[in-house]
């Protein structure tokens, strides 16, 4: 089995899974079969059927509609959170790696201290202090994830700094910012891209965890984590309440994961 074929298979599987999630997201934006908070006393805890594809919950809400509508928050939080983390991490990591010395020490000790708070804890505290809202969740998760990117950038930069082409451009007096832009960033793409994709996956896990605890996306908006926590008391009698939201989360994370494998294998294959 050669690398190119494995790599292509990852791409196909990843795209299929992400395609499903994306379809949910797009459909959910414009149309849902029922209102997401429409209760129906006559249709409580219905098993999946033609009227309700994914069944209904204890209040008679249509699970399919809620799943369609919840996709937007999962995507929004993961992408926005990673964007925040990436910006913070890139600046901090490049500065630490490029300037070294005392700058590096300060940045590293700060990022190490942030990493000492178990990720979910820091996000929970931020939400506890500033109140549960979508934006607080996003910047809190962004802050939690920033050190991960900073580390990748720092170690990558330190390694690149010993390369002769960096020495060469220092001899040519290329200013630091341009040096980072033309020499360091492009060469760290192969390392950053998988980190970004894994970041998206982890962000989703965290977001769903927080929503499950009731501290993430707030009702009346639907979110997978909250759906799962609402369904907890009925899980043995109505497993569809658990299975479908979980499945979409799994599709999203797994899809991202396959894409990151695809990036990894195809980049490696390309450079040789």
């Amino acid at each position: 089995m050669n690398l190119a074929r494995i790599s292509k298979r990852y791409l196909i599987m990843g795209m299929t899974l992400l395609g499903i999630v994306l379809a949910f997201f797009l459909i959910g934006l414009i149309w849902t079969p029922y209102g997401i908070n429409d209760t129906d006393a006559a249709a409580k805890l219905l098993a999946p059927c033609a009227d309700h594809l994914f069944g209904t919950d204890n209040m008679g809400r249509d699970v399919f509609s809620r799943c369609l509508a919840a996709a937007r928050y999962t995507l929004l939080v993961s992408f926005a959170g990673v964007a925040v983390a990436l910006v913070l991490g890139t600046v901090a990591g490049l500065a630490a790696g490029y300037f070294g010395g005392i700058t590096d020490k300060i940045i590293m000790i700060l990022s190490n201290s942030v990493m000492c708070f178990p990720g979910i804890l820091l996000a929970l505290v931020a939400v506890a202090v500033f109140g549960p809202s979508l934006y607080n969740v996003i910047w809190a998760l962004g802050l939690v994830f920033a050190p991960t990117f900073a580390r990748v950038y720092r170690s990558g930069t330190i390694e690149l700094m010993t390369r002769d082409f960096i020495l060469q451009s220092k001899v040519m007096k290329v200013p630091p910012v341009r040096l980072m832009y033309v020499h360091i960033l492009p060469n760290l793409m192969a390392q950053i891209l998988p980190a970004v994709i894994t970041g998206l996956a982890n962000m989703t896990l965290f977001e769903s965890g927080m929503s499950y605890l009731g501290l993430g996306v707030q009702p009346p908006a639907a979110s997978y984590g909250k759906m799962l926590s609402d369904a907890q008391s009925y899980m043995t009698v109505a497993p569809w309440l658990i299975i479908f939201p979980t499945l979409i989360l799994v599709f999203y994370i797994l899809g991202l994961y396959f894409i990151s494998e695809w990036v990894r294998t195809s980049v490696r294959g390309g450079s040789q």
């Binding site: 201290s113 979910i120 506890a128 996956a201 605890l213």
Partner: protein, 320 residues
């Protein structure tokens, strides 16, 4: 020898500095609350007098630096003040909930290590072959399921398919230790599974890398079998490089246990934390946060020391 003492001293300084920073962050997080902390805690219905009373009680009228110093000195004695919601000392509340969180985390860590090492070793022997691909795929899928969702799936599986009640009645460790352990195992397993995937993936990659290393080739040229090279060289070396990852995993596990204990109705730190958040009990909240963060700092310090113990290069490297 001089280097080693220097190394340990350097690491210790780093540890103390990080611990101090962590304490400052914890303190600061609860001091920069927008608006009046006392007002936030009591909610909008409280009278002006009540707020003022709480402000005095919490020492909010003192200058910030003084509050930090007094908070830190009492925290070092293990005194985090009194919980507002439970009217009990924070430290007692924490220590009564600690066994669940700690026990669950430790069991999960053991599961992670015991499972991922052998699997990674098997897969690294013949990368790209059927076993490797099957196990790697299983790893991907496990990684993708949120632990609390996995817990629910497993509970459904156990009750619906096997007819076993998976959520056992919780017993305190002092009452019935066996029962205490038995109700921790399934949750620990649920936290561990995604982390097994993560550790496995890292170990597999590092073992494959070491299999192709120059020293593995040297041993091969000495006439050692692949299995002996694996045992003697590859596993110890990957163990060293995985120490950092494993300590990260343990910190993730502790975070994960906060959520999973909700699913299994276990009285651990997670429930206490949620109660503190929902009742805006900031003394309790800062106590829990500081406690957990401090445990992580100690954990990282220990993992650094273990790495230095095994790897002579780390001991000899001047702390830079």
């Amino acid at each position: 020898m001089g280097n080693r003492v220097k190394f340990a001293a350097g690491k210790l300084c780093e540890f103390l500095l990080t611990a101090l920073l962590v304490s400052f962050f914890t303190f600061a997080a609860f001091s920069i609350i927008p608006g009046d902390a006392a007002r936030v805690m009591l909610g909008t219905t409280a009278t002006e007098e009540q707020v003022e009373h709480l402000r005095t009680e919490l020492g909010l009228n003192e200058p910030l630096a003084q509050r930090y110093v007094s908070w830190l000195t009492s925290a070092m004695r293990g005194d985090f003040g009194k919980s507002l919601a439970f009217s009990e000392p924070v430290s007692e509340l924490i220590s009564s909930r600690l066994p669940v969180t700690l026990g669950m985390s430790l069991i999960a860590l053991i599961i992670v290590i015991v499972v991922s090492f052998p699997f990674a070793a098997v897969c690294s022997r013949r990368p790209g072959k059927f076993t490797d691909r099957a196990l790697s795929a299983a790893g991907h899928i496990l990684f993708a399921i949120p632990p609390f969702a996995l817990s629910m799936m497993l509970i459904i599986l156990f009750t619906r398919v096997f007819g076993i009640v998976a959520v056992g009645q919780y017993a305190r460790p002092s009452d019935d230790f066996g029962k205490f352990l038995s109700c921790l195992i399934l949750p620990a397993f649920c936290i561990a599974l995604p982390k097994i995937a993560m550790t496995f993936k890292f170990l597999r990659a590092s073992m494959i890398e070491y299999s192709a290393s120059d020293f593995a080739r040297t041993s091969k040229s000495h006439g050692l079998t692949d299995f002996m090279i694996l045992i003697k060289h590859i596993i110890p070396n990957s163990a060293v490089s995985s120490i950092t990852v494993i300590s990260l995993v343990l910190s993730d596990i502790m975070g994960g246990s906060l959520i999973v204990e909700q699913v299994f109705n276990l009285p651990g730190l997670g429930r206490l934390l949620l109660a503190a958040i929902s009742r805006r009990d900031f003394p309790l909240l800062s106590g829990i946060v500081f406690y957990l963060a401090l445990m992580t700092v100690v954990l990282y310090f220990m993992s650094d020391m273990i790495a230095a113990l095994i790897d002579p290069r780390i001991r000899d490297r001047r702390t830079s």
